[in-house]
Symmetry: C2
Subunit: 132 residues, 2 copies
DNA sequence: CTAGTTGCAAAGAGTTTGCATGGCG
DNA sequence: CGCCATGCAAACTCTTTGCAACTAG
């Protein structure tokens, strides 16, 4: 069974610090290992990523083609109440705090009988920079 | 390299027919194999799923936890121009053709500098039936 | 007949787990 | 000290590929 408490270790700290230092970027397990900036074994890294995701420090993204999962630093709990825009080209995640989205949720609930979870919904497209 | 034309075969037809018969449901490769309703080898099934997805007959969904990809019958090309709502509990996919979504895209492009691809964006939440 | 397709088995990528050793508290 | 964490290698899951036999057109 899983542990009841969790220790504060050097490896977990390094993984979290790495993500905190690059809040706008996404990384997959392989990237962290290959960079060799973080001396952590494969298994430990995956365990750390799972734990940090579960604790809410990281966000995890799957890939449509079944490729590796990407992780990004999760700045705050506020992300649970707003929408995210993710660029299909560069992977950047844009936080969108806008009253219009709240209106949208209300409309969908009222007229389409569906309760949208903003924290779990990501709109995909192309960001300003990539559109050039 | 990949073929220049494609043959009409019994196996591909059966896979497509199966999905067409269950337009509201999602299936992963394993489910189709285990059901044994479709006498098709594993490799052939994956090849058929990839082809049918590429041709636009099926929609493919990745899983956040890295589990198997799920496929669903794609009723029409119209799906590329409207949004989809996917229930986190029952997995049902709801098509949402609504002018308000077009307005939303325009707003995000104008005020947030982001061009949303409606065909690739899925809003997750709870549907009417599951909310009870 | 020719080129695409099938199915098996083997390979591959990404991730998880078993287990002995090492480290936090 | 008692657990928990680490790291290596092996196992596992999902998917893709190589190849010889087969089949649609």
């Amino acid at each position: 069974m899983s542990p009841t408490r969790s220790y504060h270790t050097r490896q977990r700290e390094m993984v979290l610090q790495f993500f905190a230092a690059h809040p706008a970027e996404c990384f997959c397990a392989r990237q962290l290992i290959d960079q060799k900036q973080i001396p952590v074994g494969t298994a430990t890294l995956y365990r750390a990523l799972a734990l940090l995701t579960q604790e809410g420090h990281l966000k995890k993204f799957a890939q449509a083609d079944g490729g590796p999962a990407f992780y990004q630093y999760n700045e705050s709990d506020a992300c649970r109440s707003h929408f995210h825009l993710k660029c299909l080209r560069c992977g950047r995640l844009v936080h969108m705090d806008c009253s219009l989205m709240k209106d949208l949720q209300d409309h969908i609930a009222a007229d389409h009988d569906f309760w949208v979870d903003s924290g779990k919904s990501i709109l995909y497209g192309i960001c300003k920079t990539c559109r050039g």
